[in-house]
């Protein structure tokens, strides 16, 4: 194999990188606590006083508290995401369905992943990844909207309940909101599986520093990326 000289391309702003890790932690905690809330698979036993809910680390009360805590953290972390989005082009790598490059890139990367093509040209972020991340954000917003719709109804006269009431009307009744929240949450382990695998794979196959870019913001692409325009 030849030793190609590659230049690092600085893509991701510190705000995006910080957001990424806060979001990763928040979503992981939300999923785990959410699993217990949806299906409390361990619980107290005969002889346990129900007052253990107060201050007990693994009671439903505490687990729900952490669920709401991390939900707020996730929402707050979007401040970083939005700031990065506004200030840095590298944080704006969303799918551009209207360009030819999006569709050719999608086809090329799919062919590569299906082993029909031995390699694909370098991208800042390929079309498939861009699309997946967009879906990720959509699912996250669905989870936020349904989550706060349920949370707000603890006090139906509250501002939160009023603001999110259209979510409940849209889904027909509040039970469906729980169901949608539960289904949407399962997108997370699926996404985590594919996301970590393909990031790792990209690093292994192309040596493009995909993993280190999560920390440094720099990718080392073998050649000029096809979507280099997005940084200009």
């Amino acid at each position: 194999m030849k030793n190609k000289r590659v230049d690092g391309i600085y893509i991701f702003s510190p705000f995006l990188r910080l957001f990424h890790w806060i979001m990763a932690a928040a979503v992981l905690m939300l999923f785990l606590t959410g699993r217990y809330i949806a299906n409390p698979f361990f619980h107290g036993s005969i002889g346990v006083d129900p007052t253990i809910s107060v201050g007990n680390l693994m009671s439903m009360e505490t687990i729900r508290f952490w669920h709401f805590f991390w939900a707020y953290v996730l929402v707050a972390s979007f401040i970083l995401r939005i700031y990065g989005w506004v200030m840095y082009k590298g944080d704006r790598l969303l799918p551009k369905f209207w360009t030819k490059l999006y569709w050719t890139g999608l086809s090329e990367v799919l062919q590569h992943y299906l082993f029909l093509k031995s390699d694909h040209q370098p991208y800042l972020r390929n079309s498939l990844a861009r699309t997946t991340y967009l879906i990720w954000y959509i699912v996250t917003f669905v989870l936020m909207a349904t989550g706060f719709a349920m949370y707000g109804m603890i006090n139906p006269a509250s501002w939160t309940a009023k603001f999110f009431s259209p979510v409940i009307s849209l889904l027909g009744n509040e039970y469906n909101v729980h169901v949608v929240h539960n289904y949407a949450a399962w997108f997370f382990p699926l996404f985590l599986t594919f996301h970590t695998y393909f990031a790792y794979r990209s690093d292994m196959m192309h040596g493009d520093g995909e993993i280190s870019s999560i920390f440094s913001g720099i990718k080392y692409l073998p050649g000029k990326p096809a979507d280099a325009e997005d940084l200009k």
Binding site: A38, I46, T51, I63, D119, N173, Y175, A185, T193, Y197
Partner: protein, 363 residues
């Protein structure tokens, strides 16, 4: 024009004391969810306001709401019907029947045009020109439209009138819908439940009658004072939920000890009603107290969220029943297996690619 009696007139005519009257007014104030300081207003209204004329129609339903209503304990249903409202038409409670009775309905809606309260019990079937529910030889939808035209306000009594009811369950062969889907331009109050708590109906009727205005409603059109809280948030078993103590089966020790019914499919976290505060039959009990999970009988579409004793609804896949958690876990395992296989093939591909390139370089 004849003058109608006030509640006070009605009480004095029956020889009931002022004291009894005031006691009733106090009870009513509480019933309507008003603070006790508003008792003066209630007494004043009950002394001056003529008894409200109520027309009670029955549509596509099981009459269970009536059965519940006649068991109203405080005030007694008989008191309400005979002393507090002027119930001019009710198919099930009236002594009269047949053509003269239907004729009476026509007379009443013209006589009290724009002044009476219309209580509707039952859904409105629209399929096949509404022939699934006939009242007095006419489709119910026609009767309803005619009477509603003359009403001052409409109360949708029960989940059938409020949301379409059990007969609106998929695939809804009779095309049953709520009253508000058929009638517009009138103030409508939803009093859902299957059946609703009788005292809630009493409270709503009296609020309309005494203050001449509809009670404060929530986003879905239900009176806030009765539907303003989750069953879950008013549940006396809530401490068991917070502690993570759940009945797993109807015959286990947790069930016997009165633990939370969440895992037995309790819809308390999604249901809005006054069961937790008012309870039933003069505060005797309510489903959760009797050890049966709430199934949100006051919510729109509760009939399609089966099975009632499971936390999550079943999803019907060919030859099997499953739910969100099983599907999610299954997909995740499949994805993990998928990427593992993909990784193995990828490493082979990479080795080949490298080999090709080095051969290419040598040429």
């Amino acid at each position: 024009m004849e003058t109608r009696m006030t509640m006070w007139d009605s009480f004095s005519k029956r020889g009931l004391s002022r004291r009894t009257f005031l006691k009733t007014c106090t009870a009513l104030t509480a019933m309507m969810g008003l603070p006790l300081t508003d008792r003066k207003k209630v007494v004043e209204a009950a002394t001056k306001q003529p008894l409200p004329v109520v027309v009670w129609l029955h549509g596509h339903e099981c009459t269970g709401c009536d059965e519940a209503f006649i068991r109203s304990q405080s005030p007694l249903a008989s008191d309400l019907v005979l002393n507090m409202i002027s119930l001019e038409y009710s198919d099930t409670l009236a002594a009269a029947a047949g053509e003269p009775f239907e004729k009476h309905l026509e007379t009443v809606i013209k006589k009290y045009d724009g002044k009476f309260i219309l209580a509707v019990e039952g859904g409105v079937p629209l399929a096949d020109q509404g022939i699934s529910c006939m009242v007095g030889g006419k489709p119910f939808v026609d009767v309803l439209k005619e009477v509603a035209k003359h009403a001052a306000a409409i109360i949708e009594y029960g989940s059938c009138a409020a949301w379409g009811g059990v007969q609106a369950a998929k695939p809804n062969p009779t095309g049953s819908v709520s009253v508000s889907k058929v009638i517009s331009g009138k103030p409508i109050i939803k009093v859902p439940g299957c059946p609703p708590i009788p005292e809630v109906m009493t409270g709503v009727v009296m609020h309309l009658a005494l203050f001449g205005q509809i009670p404060p409603l929530d986003a879905q059109g239900r009176p806030k004072q009765f539907y303003g809280n989750r069953i879950h948030d008013t549940c006396y078993r809530r401490s068991f939920f917070d502690a993570g103590m759940f009945a797993e089966r109807f015959d286990d020790a947790g069930s016997k000890a009165g633990w939370c019914l969440y895992k037995l499919g309790c819809r308390g976290p999604e249901a809005y009603n006054a069961c937790g505060n008012l309870r039933w039959w003069n505060g005797l009990s309510y489903p959760i107290q009797s050890g049966s999970p709430c199934f949100a009988c006051g919510s729109d579409g509760f009939w399609d969220n089966g099975p009632f004793h499971e936390r999550l609804p079943n999803v019907v896949l060919p030859n099997t029943l499953t739910n969100a958690d099983k599907i999610g876990a299954g997909l995740t395992v499949a994805a993990m297996a998928g990427v593992t296989v993909h990784a193995v093939i990828s490493s082979v591909q990479k080795a080949r690619h490298a080999k090709n390139e080095s051969e290419h370089d040598e040429e």
